[in-house]
Symmetry: C2
Subunit: 445 residues, 2 copies
């Protein structure tokens, strides 16, 4: 591959994306651009399938129909080369979008190495580690393009829903000065001459900010230094954080099921092709609201009676139990009224039974999508909770300060973006739902 043979972009620009082509344009000249996913060369005929950010188009160069120069150029291109092609749209029933392009001009903007590290042509994917090691190429696979096109719609629709409902967008610091919530799962940073940490959640800051802007949200990274090697844990995760003022956990349940339903509805409308690529279209369902609500105790009973697994009150629910429960509750549902003993210090007790909490989980089948609850807004109670959990209130000085100025009753939740994307796209590994995932053994690329 030599750069001497590359052509300059100059003033040539795309006029259409592949998805915009249709038989309505027959006879017109268009300029499309993208990457070669397949070529076929049959004597006097060359077919090039060109892929762009949305889809593909077929380019057909027939000797005698196109100039000899164009024909030879078409013959020369290799897989994943980057081209701009000016062509005339012809009707072609079996081509993508019902058309093909007869090339009038081919501009070779960049070439690719001949021995690609991944198979980009078939439905079968290479093994995940090889794919992640070659992520820039891997992402160009139609399946991966589809996953993140869906994510882009998801993010946009989440924000649309929240802005429409008067939420204010916040940005909380990701560098924190003290290991407040317990230090073992934090990544340490050297901040000039001070010790600092990467924030593991927006929790404390979003609570403070809801005492100013009432309902707030943020979509931002969180950091967990956990040596977990499951298919659903990462060290860098993007999370939707919401916090509602003048509200309790029941308001959060309503906000969340509304959000989940409206985002899934939008994905259904905007991402049909992507869901088809991922084999998720036929079974794609927009859930009814309200979602079923089960208390923790009710769930224990179901697990006991229908799954044959005994869990003592106060224990967490095991992955094994969730997997079995999935057969009975495969959809979206809430688990409420967890025992106080398994909840963090900022979760409020149930006013009707102080052994129980006003914390909840949102489940989709066996997978926990989100945790949340009513928060403690009373300063003295918060200090008591900190002490009960062996944490030092002095370390929380600047957080506790916010409770001196009329902290409203509030409630909220955190929601893992990649986990939800994993469910929607039906992929097995959460690593496939992040552009460049970070795990205990993966820091590159």
């Amino acid at each position: 591959m030599s750069e001497n043979s590359l052509e300059a972009l100059g003033e040539m620009r795309k006029t259409h994306f592949s998805k915009d082509l249709s038989p309505d344009l027959v006879g017109q000249e268009v300029i499309i651009g993208g990457w070669v996913t397949r070529t076929r060369k049959l004597g006097g005929l060359v077919f090039i399938v060109l892929q762009d950010k949305f889809s593909t188009v077929q380019v057909t160069a027939k000797k005698g129909v196109v100039s000899d120069e164009i024909f030879e150029k078409a013959k020369s291109v290799g897989n994943q080369w980057c081209l701009l092609i000016k062509g005339e749209v012809k009707a072609f029933k079996n081509g993508p979008h019902g058309v093909e392009l007869v090339p009038l001009e081919i501009c070779i903007l960049n070439q690719a190495i001949e021995q690609l590290p991944l198979d980009m042509t078939g439905k079968a994917m290479s093994d995940l580690d090889t794919r992640l090691n070659n992520r820039s190429l891997d992402l160009r696979h139609p399946r991966n393009q589809a996953i993140f096109r869906i994510q882009s719609v998801m993010l946009n629709e989440i924000r649309k829903y929240l802005v429409k409902n008067n939420y204010t967008e916040i940005m909380t610091p990701k560098i924190i000065g003290s290991a407040t919530e317990g230090g073992t799962e934090l990544f340490p940073i050297k901040y000039f001459d001070k010790d600092a940490y990467l924030s593991q959640s927006a929790q404390l800051y979003k609570e403070r900010l809801c005492s100013v802007y009432e309902n707030v949200f943020e979509i931002a990274p969180c950091y967990r230094a956990e040596k977990s090697f499951t298919n659903r844990h990462l060290c860098e995760i993007y999370q939707l954080d919401m916090e509602l003022a003048f509200a309790d956990y029941k308001d959060v349940l309503v906000a969340m099921e509304g959000l989940v339903q409206s985002v899934l509805q939008a994905i259904k409308v905007q991402c049909e092709e992507d869901l088809k690529i991922l084999d998720q279209w036929e079974n794609f369902e927009v859930p009814q609201i309200p979602f079923p609500r089960y208390t923790y105790s009710e769930v224990l009973k179901i697990i006991d009676e229908k799954c044959g697994i005994k869990i003592e009150f106060g224990e967490d629910i095991s992955t094994e139990a969730y997997r079995k429960l999935d057969e009975i509750l495969p959809g979206y549902y809430f688990i409420t009224k967890w025992p106080m003993s398994v909840k963090p210090f900022y979760i409020h007790f149930d006013p009707e039974n102080p052994e129980l909490s006003d914390g909840f989980d949102l489940q989709k089948g066996w997978l926990e999508l989100s945790s949340g609850g009513t928060r403690v807004h009373e300063k003295e109670l918060l200090i008591k909770n900190l002490e009960k959990q062996g944490l030092n209130p002095d370390a929380f000085k600047s957080h506790l300060q916010a409770f001196d100025y009329g902290m409203p009753p509030h409630a909220g939740m955190g929601f893992g973006i990649a986990r939800w994307l994993q469910i929607i796209t039906g992929v097995d590994q959460i690593k496939e739902c992040v552009f460049y995932p970070r795990t205990p053994d993966r820091l590159d690329p």
Copy 2:
């Protein structure tokens, strides 16, 4: 302050925000909630000004008109207490929104300490350090609420513009494995047993991703370990990053001026009250497009001839020179064709003059808002540039890999969110445009 006297939220919920009140509602019962910003007690009359996330409302309790219990409760409240008030709307020409509320029920949700560390009543602000030390209270000042209401609109409108124009939202890792772009300005992290760093920009990842998703964007934090103590530098900054495929820097200029204009237009429509609070309404201008474009050499000439400052070709433009230039060019404008010698390795040379670059800055008056340019898409040239700048191509192995698979010609830019907010809101210190700023000497709260 005793928590025993706090009342529970129970099932009581706000029916209106202050901004939704108007004389149309006279005679109706509403429930509003927020924080006491001022009280006046005149014998048989108590006035409470209650602030919520948008604005304020006046509550008037007159002995004899309201029950004795309500009157005593109204008399008892202090500044920054958190209340829900059910009341009847009365016309009151001089009140906010042309109404006042006669309280039927007052629910004291939380109290505040009596000696507040900041003056929250007047137009004068306490000194910035004291304010930042008490940020949760400081943010509740109407001026600060206004700044971040504008930011919320800004962020939403940026994304609306980009999504409408087919940009895909990306999320790039903030933990990176090697100090690629030069190590001195990076914060080091301990990543399990490995050394890692906080990412100082999305540059390399967004370039790779535009070879898959073409036009992409991200709004996310970047980290700069610079000991700068100016009014426009921070260690944690949120940046809008855009990258356009099949494009050069001229396409980015057009995209940016379109974005700037459309966001400012939306702010003008949606944020009139906020701009008035900040004294920015009268002079608020939505700029015409196209923005003026000056080459670096043209700017040097203006600075020489009109400002009397000589800058040698190849030198950076000093803050002093920019300040003087501001008197001649106070609006939005571009500086193009910077010398290659001051540009990073990924910026492309000007094909017509290899001493010049296809890099640009977007200026608003003296302040640099954004930098960008045409990028190098040819692998061999990129390696040559790295070597010329004394960087080791081996350290860029996983980045260079992306150039093996048909990297398209591309161009892009990075845009500081807080700097732009600083300009729009007219505040002097960038720290005021971030919820919880991080500077070399500020890691808390």
